[in-house]
Symmetry: C3
Subunit: 397 residues, 3 copies
């Protein structure tokens, strides 16, 4: 049976700690656990390609809490929930009574009586998002132990101030498929570089997620940005340690061209300086409107000094055989299309449209795999059962 | 078996082109295809009346994108999706990152990884709505061919600037049932007439949808409106050609009374002049606030000259035996109820409340039929299977 | 079989009137009907604890109409719907065309073509909320009889101006479980008392719901509030009559301490004076902004005279053995946590966090039981069937 291919892999992995657990940061997960996510994501996709239902829930809720706008991640979470049989229930803070002075612990329990998973996006303020997720996880763990909740909802980080694990894992699975397997990645070079955008406060979670994850596969990860656009030093430390352990490399440069040199993969994307985001968080905390407005001006002026950080044909020629895999979490700021001057030239972006969309297409399966592995005591067995049962997803004839 | 009644009909129709296709304009569909929609809508209703599940999807998403307010169509789409086993996922442009400078092609792919159907309402601007739908259809067709999407989502036009096919098809099915079959419609007269409303910019898609569809059944379709309230000439051309082909008639008049004369069916409804809507679209495009405000005043003044275009008892007496079937897409502007002076007098409206609600009740089944025929290679066989399986929708005992 | 425990109870109850009926006020229901709700709520919970699906619907919609913000009730309704197999469809009046001048009768029918249940929260204006629900119930009853609707949607009152039955029933089931059965409640004292809050217009439906329901179980219900904070006299009359019939007591006092004296249960909660809410309703009706603002000031000043109405350790000592069960519908105004001075001191609230969350946790099952009993002709038989079928809710292995 074709499912055996995936379950054989799972059998070799130590994943006992994943059951009833959360997914908050990739670097909290072992290599086996990371490998299990990829395997289950591929297995779930394979079920769908074979028109076989992957529903492990007959009923149940997937609660989403988005504190920032989102299309891709919102739809990916909704798709993953649906794939596994859960109904989406948005916790729209505007329509709720949360502003009323309610604690995180209370809200977490109140929305979880029938919740099997809670997905949270909270990426705006440094030091807040991931902390909030842990508070929610802690609250539902307690609620479950105290008998308030009949099931333990799994937390999935849909982007926080530190990491964006559903994005970096989808990106990584795209890379694995593109290069024909994780075993082919040794020595490959990926350039995670800053790029110019006319908007100034983009989250750091994508570059941090990428350097924190991609350094685990024996690749060379080159982080490039203008001076002043440093990411969190804690995550750089993670990247350095990962590289040391896996025979990879983690290098830093202030030259986009240097990072592109000989790269197999390029990921040019705008982000805000970490120090500025810390400052902004404090200004918001103090309700300092003038300070925020001043900071915005400063940052836009600072950005404008680096308009030459654009991924264009000239730079692409420097990459391996001039044909590195171009990646982006989307939406990209495309020069002459979505803005006057942006992260990437239109001709480069257009050439990579198909792989970019495929890259994005891994996210629903990554999220579904995170939920699946947190919900199934014996994930391999459950996959086999689903395949054996062969319930059609779609009666197309 | 009672399902045989419907599947026998389907067997006689050439509907091979419907599989994996969209539903954008009724006049792009053959007579067989139109007949198939009605047949499947009736079959799905029959399943439900017999408490039999019509779920052809075990999981999957129905994505809705409403660019205008809606109750009826929104609930009809949600109901149709649910009937077939799909979960509704709203693409709320406010909550998404679409404003960010993202292309239609990108958005269309990003929301479609697990979408089986996309329903769009975009009726505000002339030349835009239907065009947008075709761009989305084109994008997902490409996404499917390129392997970005594992299924080809079907596009359903939930109202555009040109046509409102789910409305006109529901209206037509109501007429068919009212007169006991499509074979009884030959020579019947339907008056699609303008009526006064105190609001000025109502879409043209309903009258256009009605004249574009109802002229296909051998009926006399009389389009009546004051001078200056012309509809799109392209659609009038469609109506004229339809009538010529099917032995029906398409006539025009500037007198409500003339249209009502001997009519079997009357459909009095306000709409905006096509030329004015074209102008408004340009003004919006230019962000010309003063121009829009001036146009609004002009249009309201123009409207106010025709307050006598009201469907009242006096006019109803002129219809066939004084008892034509009164139709409306709802909500209607009712004189003395929802406004001082409106499209219809309260006594006429009240008398037709039950048939009006039944008319609206066909819409969920019409939408479900559109999806069903786009998703089933052998729709008759699938209907037979559903009936034979006999899965109860509701365990009421 | 463990389900027999519940179905044996149901067999002894006369509940034939519940099928196809609504749930608007607890005092319209017989003791048997109230007992049936508790029994089915416990049975549904038991199914879930045993990982057995309680889906009685293969498809269908649960329509929710919230005219006030809500987290708990919104999620409880969504959870109940999901538990039984229904998909939630929000009727968001902002996104709909209802403002257009549409009647309640029309809206009710338009959203109900595939609706099995409609849940409404409308608690803001005196004399309006419950009336609105009855109009909707009446409309869908007619729609069903006229053949417009193929099923009769059940109305569930999710909080109105008079009662909050899903709250008071959940509260009561919590009490029953806490004291080990309804047979142990005879002579127990519950103090339903007003408490200070810095916000001024909280609905009366909770205290009214509590005195209207808790007086039916042979308990002593003591209603305490400062002078001027009277609740609806009609509901006090219900409470008095209930107590007379069941050998309980309904007493009133203007002293929080007196109510707490020897109480087994305390329920301290802020509410607005009924007379002021009536006045506010009239002011809103007249669009009298100045009047509303003046009333708000008056009410806040009136509130501020009673800051000593706080449930604190001092008062708790007066209760039975100093350890009465503290209850609240949440979110509570906690002194020093969510406000400077509130309904309850932080130490009391913290001590009761677990039971408070459990109290809230009964609501989804209460709502599901209300729907279940309105939808199943033979609820006991259906429960037995679900248990016998044993469809797992969650394939966790």
């Amino acid at each position: 049976m074709y499912m055996r291919h995936f379950t054989n892999k799972l059998d070799q992995l130590n994943i006992s700690r994943m059951f009833q657990n959360d997914f908050l940061l990739t670097w909290e997960k072992t290599d086996d656990e990371i490998a299990a996510i990829f395997t289950v994501a591929d297995a779930l996709r394979s079920l769908r390609e074979n028109n076989i239902s992957a529903k492990i829930f007959d009923s149940g809720l997937a609660v989403s809490l988005f504190r920032d706008n989102s299309t891709r991640t919102r739809f990916s979470f909704g798709s993953a929930a649906n794939l596994l049989g859960l109904a989406l229930q948005d916790l729209d803070e505007g329509k709720s009574q949360i502003a009323h002075g309610e604690t995180v612990r209370e809200t977490a329990n109140m929305v979880s009586f029938m919740a099997d998973v809670i997905g949270i996006r909270d990426d705006m303020y440094i030091g807040k998002g991931n902390t909030y997720m842990r508070e929610v996880a802690h609250a539902v763990e307690h609620g479950y132990r105290d008998g308030v909740l009949e099931q333990r909802p799994t937390l999935v980080n849909l982007q926080c101030d530190i990491d964006h694990p559903t994005q970096s894992m989808a990106d990584m699975l795209h890379i694995i498929h593109h290069f024909g397997g994780v075993e082919n990645l040794k020595g490959k070079k990926i350039a995670m570089t800053w790029a110019y955008s006319p908007s100034y406060g983009k989250p750091l979670s994508v570059p941090q997620g990428v350097i924190g994850l991609m350094t685990r596969f024996g690749m060379e990860v080159s982080l490039a940005h203008p001076k002043g656009y440093e990411v969190m030093s804690e995550v750089e430390k993670v990247a350095t340690e990962n590289a040391a352990k896996t025979g990879g490399k983690f290098t830093k440069t202030n030259s986009m061209a240097e990072a592109f040199e000989g790269a197999d993969i390029v990921y040019p994307k705008s982000w805000a300086p970490f120090a500025a985001m810390e400052e902004r968080t404090i200004l918001y905390g103090n309700g300092d409107i003038t300070g925020i407005s001043d900071l915005e001006k400063t940052l836009l002026a600072q950005n404008a000094e680096h308009k030459d950080w654009e991924c264009n044909e000239e730079l692409m020629k420097r990459t391996k055989d001039g044909s590195a895999l171009y990646m982006h979490c989307l939406p990209a700021d495309i020069t002459g299309v979505s803005c006057e001057q942006g992260e990437v030239s239109a001709s480069v972006f257009d050439r990579y449209r198909e792989p970019l969309y495929k890259e994005a297409g891994f996210k629903p399966y990554i999220i579904a795999a995170m939920i699946f592995l947190a919900k199934c005591k014996n994930p391999g067995g459950t996959l086999e059962n689903l395949a054996a049962k062969g319930q059609p997803r779609w009666l197309d004839r």
